[in-house]
């Protein structure tokens, strides 16, 4: 009779759950890294058009966004239903774009300025007139590298 032997109905030792917090943290960090915060609340309604030849926007920090679309319901009383431009958090006019680009440039490192991209997020039912005006303003501001935001077409 060894002194280590205990009673017959020995229970299984409970399995340690100390690694559970690690797992939960893993998931948490995973989402913290991948989910990008939307720092701008959209005031316009945008459904980007479909296209097949797309490239990814690589460096998010170098991208400035211009949103164009119909104002959302709660703003329609003030701003109407015609497509409007949104820069940062406010509705803007075409003439504000140069100022916006200059401000975006100043916020970046000088060495990074040549690699900046302007992403145009435009609703697919917008007429080209307003887009053309924006492009002219971007040319004036020499922000020539642009990216038309679009969704991937599913190939049949």
């Amino acid at each position: 009779m060894s002194k280590f032997r205990k009673g017959e109905n020995k229970e299984l030792p409970p399995i340690s759950t100390s690694s559970l917090p690690d797992i939960v943290f893993m998931i948490l960090f995973f989402f913290m890294v991948t989910v990008q915060m939307r720092d701008v609340s959209l005031k316009v309604h945008i459904t980007t058009p479909e296209a097949s030849e797309l490239s990814k926007l690589e460096k998010k920090s170098l991208v400035s966004y211009i949103y164009v679309g119909e104002p959302q319901k709660q703003y329609q009383k003030v701003f109407g239903t015609e497509p409007r431009i949104q820069l940062n958090d406010v509705f803007a006019n075409v003439s504000d774009i140069i100022e916006f680009i200059v401000a975006e440039r100043e916020a970046r490192d000088e060495a990074e300025v040549p690699f900046m991209i302007t992403s145009l997020k435009v609703d697919e039912y917008t007429k080209m007139g307003i887009v053309q005006d924006i492009k002219q303003e971007l040319r004036k501001a020499s922000a020539l590298h642009i990216n038309y935001s679009a969704r991937k077409t599913l190939k049949p």
Binding site: T17, F30, E53, L54, L57, M128, Q132, A150
Partner: protein
């Protein structure tokens, strides 16, 4: 005396957590921003006159017009968007040296030796009332046509798709199939 309840085994919790993790990994679209990348032409200097650009021959220009009803006129023919890519490819490649399709100039290109390079330019003009969605579809098809040609060339020459090539090889192919899409200012006349 009440019997001690057996503890609920929590070993499987980790598996459940992993299952959820993998589920999210698979389903979560990283919401990457995708887009059609283009470069705008720089503003012309203010002292530039209109007539100092050399005239481009008619056969070297692939004219795509889009009107306010989102209809396409390609080289004078009413065309559907689905057919645009083939037409643009035929124009840019001009495999049989058709006199109606663009001229070529022979140029020395690394990896390839002397290659006839097309002088073709795609000209896209849209109406102010054109829908943005149509415009992007047209742009996408035109860029796609050039990408297709580049891919085909990369496959035959290097046996790899274009985006897997080295930078030098890419440059060589880009020289053979340049991405020349010019956009005219939209017409403001007519329509709404």
């Amino acid at each position: 005396m009440a019997r001690k309840l057996p503890e609920i085994p929590s070993a499987s919790l980790a598996d459940i957590a992993f299952m959820i993790l993998i589920f999210f990994l698979v389903t979560a679209t990283m919401d990457t921003d995708m887009g059609l990348e283009r470069r705008l032409p720089p503003m012309p200097p203010p002292d530039q006159k209109d007539d100092d650009t050399p005239p481009i021959k008619e056969r070297n220009v692939f004219v795509v017009l889009v009107n306010a009803q989102n209809q396409l006129l390609v080289e004078g023919e009413w065309t559907k968007i689905e057919d645009l890519r083939e037409k643009a490819k035929e124009f840019m490649a001009n495999p049989n040296d058709d006199p109606n399709l663009p001229e070529k100039t022979v140029k020395e290109v690394p990896f390839f030796g002397p290659v006839p390079i097309t002088k073709g330019v795609i000209s896209l003009q849209n109406h102010v009332g054109t829908q943005y969605g149509t415009y992007i579809a047209v742009q996408s098809e035109l860029v796609g046509a050039i990408n297709d040609l580049r891919n085909e060339l990369a496959e035959t020459k290097f046996g790899k798709p274009f985006n897997k090539l080295t930078e030098d090889q890419k440059d060589a192919i880009q020289e053979i199939y340049p991405s020349k899409i010019s956009e005219a200012e939209p017409k403001k006349v007519g329509g709404k």
